[in-house]
């Protein structure tokens, strides 16, 4: 045993043993969901064996641009982010909330459609994803009303977070205080990936139970130092948002000419809101069955970029893209502070990457709040 190991610290999992983590989780009753390559992007889907992980893949991201490249390394988590965080797994893009049956006398019987979902273990959750999850929790669970559909899934999850060893070109989580290192809690297990294996620690009693069943050995100080260095380099990000509260600044620039300029570029497609891990807008619709005796009440993701979003009888309040982009940006970065005591942006950069015309909110903010009115 080399002298810089600490025998009391059993926190190292060799790469060839990673399958044991999946096995132990499945044995504990969890369905494992982790990163995989699908349609040239990293997405979170069900996995059962290590071979499904995106080994060696890194993502190159830029405004309106995303490509994956195989680097040939053995790392599973060298990529940074794909188009989705945990949002679509907890707040489903479409789900039945309740159902109503109508009997022959016209009487109505309402029943909840929320089941008891199976526990899901999410593998490879980033620091920004945890911050976004905390925001969804504040929204769906910590207000006056609890959303039972979200809650039933949320209660069953097990989170295996991972520290980011690199940042994408679009990341700015360091400026928002949400990454790239996982700080604070919100996870059950936390991985830091090295070429040969993982430093793994627990953040909860559920995490402890899984950890003791893994074939761990002691890590070295050198390995910890390596993790630290990679985190420091991941902190060197090209983009940033001002770390100050933008609430007052943005809300005093509602007539800035840049909003008109945005109107000419933005397609109002809503991609940014779909990929944003904190956007929660949804619509409720009813879907009557063909037999005429039942009807389902469904919720579907919606976007403040649609005309229906601000419809009230007879007119649309946000009838142009200028008003819609302004609505989105001012809510996300300004009035979220009033509603959730922090900004709605965790710096993941997804809205920059997945915007078909490459609109970059950090650049828009710099112009709108910076007094540089070249728009």
């Amino acid at each position: 045993m080399s002298q810089d190991t600490d025998q009391t610290r059993l926190d190292y999992l060799d790469r060839p043993q990673f399958q044991s983590l999946l096995d132990v989780l499945q044995d504990a009753g969890f369905r494992c969901v982790g990163p995989q390559v699908s349609d040239h992007a990293i997405v979170f889907e069900e996995i059962s064996y290590v071979g499904q992980l995106p080994t060696g893949m890194v993502d190159r991201q830029g405004p309106g641009r995303y490509t994956l490249k195989d680097t040939g390394t053995g790392r599973f988590f060298y990529w940074v982010s794909g188009p989705q965080a945990l949002k679509p797994h907890l707040f489903l893009p479409r789900e039945v909330l309740w159902q109503v049956d109508r009997d022959d006398d016209g009487k109505l019987h309402f029943s909840s459609a929320c089941g008891q979902p199976q526990g899901v273990a999410f593998i490879g959750v980033r620091s920004c994803d945890l911050a976004a999850l905390d925001l969804l929790d504040r929204h769906f669970l910590q207000g006056d009303y609890v959303d039972s559909a979200y809650q039933s899934r949320r209660q069953q999850i097990f989170i295996i977070a991972v520290n980011c060893a690199r940042s994408a070109e679009t990341c700015f989580c360091h400026s928002t205080g949400d990454g790239p290192q996982v700080r604070g809690g919100g996870y059950d297990l936390l991985l830091s990936e090295l070429d040969e294996g993982f430093i793994i620690t627990s953040g909860s009693s559920k995490g402890d139970e899984i950890l003791v069943r893994l074939p761990l050995r002691a890590s070295t100080n050198q390995q910890h130092e390596q993790v630290r260095q990679e985190l420091v380099s991941a902190e060197q990000q090209q983009r940033s948002l001002p770390s100050t509260d933008l609430n007052e600044k943005l809300m005093s620039q509602l007539e800035h000419p840049r909003w008109d300029d945005l109107q000419e570029r933005c397609l109002s497609c809503g991609n940014c809101t779909a990929v944003c891990p904190t956007c929660f807008c949804h619509s409720e619709i009813d879907h009557p069955g063909l037999n005429g005796m039942t009807s389902e009440h469904i919720r579907e993701w919606d976007s403040c970029f649609t005309s229906g979003h601000s419809y009230i009888h007879g007119h649309v309040l946000r009838d142009d893209t200028r008003k819609r982009y302004r609505q989105w940006l001012t809510h996300k970065l300004a009035t979220w502070h009033d509603q959730y005591q922090r900004s709605g942006c965790v710096g993941c950069g997804r809205c920059i990457t997945w915007c078909p015309v490459g609109i970059d909110l950090t650049e828009e903010v710099a112009v709108i709040c910076g007094g540089d009115a070249h728009g």
Partner: protein, 277 residues
Amino acid sequence: MDNVGMPHEAEVVEKIIESKSIFTLRLRFTDPQVQASYRFLPGQFNMLYLYGAGEVPISVVSDPLDEHIFDHAIRAVGRITNALSRLEQGDRLGVRGPYGRGWPLQEMEANDLVLITGGLGCAPLVSVINYVMRRRELFNRFVIMQGVKHSDDLIWRSRYQEWQQQPDTQVYLAADQAGPGWPWTTGPISALFKQAEFDVARSKAMLCGPEGMMFVAIDELTRRGMPESDIWLSMERNMQCAVGHCGHCQYGPHFVCKQGPVFSYPEVRQLHWVAGF
């Protein structure tokens, strides 16, 4: 536990046709326990669910002390409200609520009340009129001002005449365009302010209607010296969930369904003059 967003079944106890497009549904929850525990304040609203069609937000207009029944005055304007207008006595629908914040009527006691409405009779304030008329002694002067586009749009004409007969009550109506036999003012709602008598230092104003009309009224009131914090208004936005989750009614720092629909003017002033929020 109950799913928060799930309606309870209610029954149409009576349907009253108020005008060509406006009708009142008097409702009761079919489960007596649900009915017994149902409490609301004027200004709050319910989500009414019509089988297979969907839900709409509608204010409660009856008196909060009526324990056996609650009323909704509805204007048929679109898909769901038109379908609701075809309901008859005994028909079933879904109701969940009440939601939002109502008018702070208890804090307004011992003041003059100034009600200003525009459009076709404004449900959130009809409930206030009913409430005050039953408790007339709790309030001082009662001023009701209503503006309509055309005199034919005024519903409940006889009720306004009745209200006008009540002690210490002033009713002023203005129609932008008036047909023959219109006994009240012809012109914009601002024309009514000259006639109204109230003590700005001891008054509370309640506004409801199109936002353009509310701007004019707020302007008149503040010019007359009423503090902004004594002005209250009810707002409308698209509403899908009514519990602050769907984001449709988000208005600056608020969700209208939760922090509203009734706001004090300083709470919403920041955005009130900006189109698109």
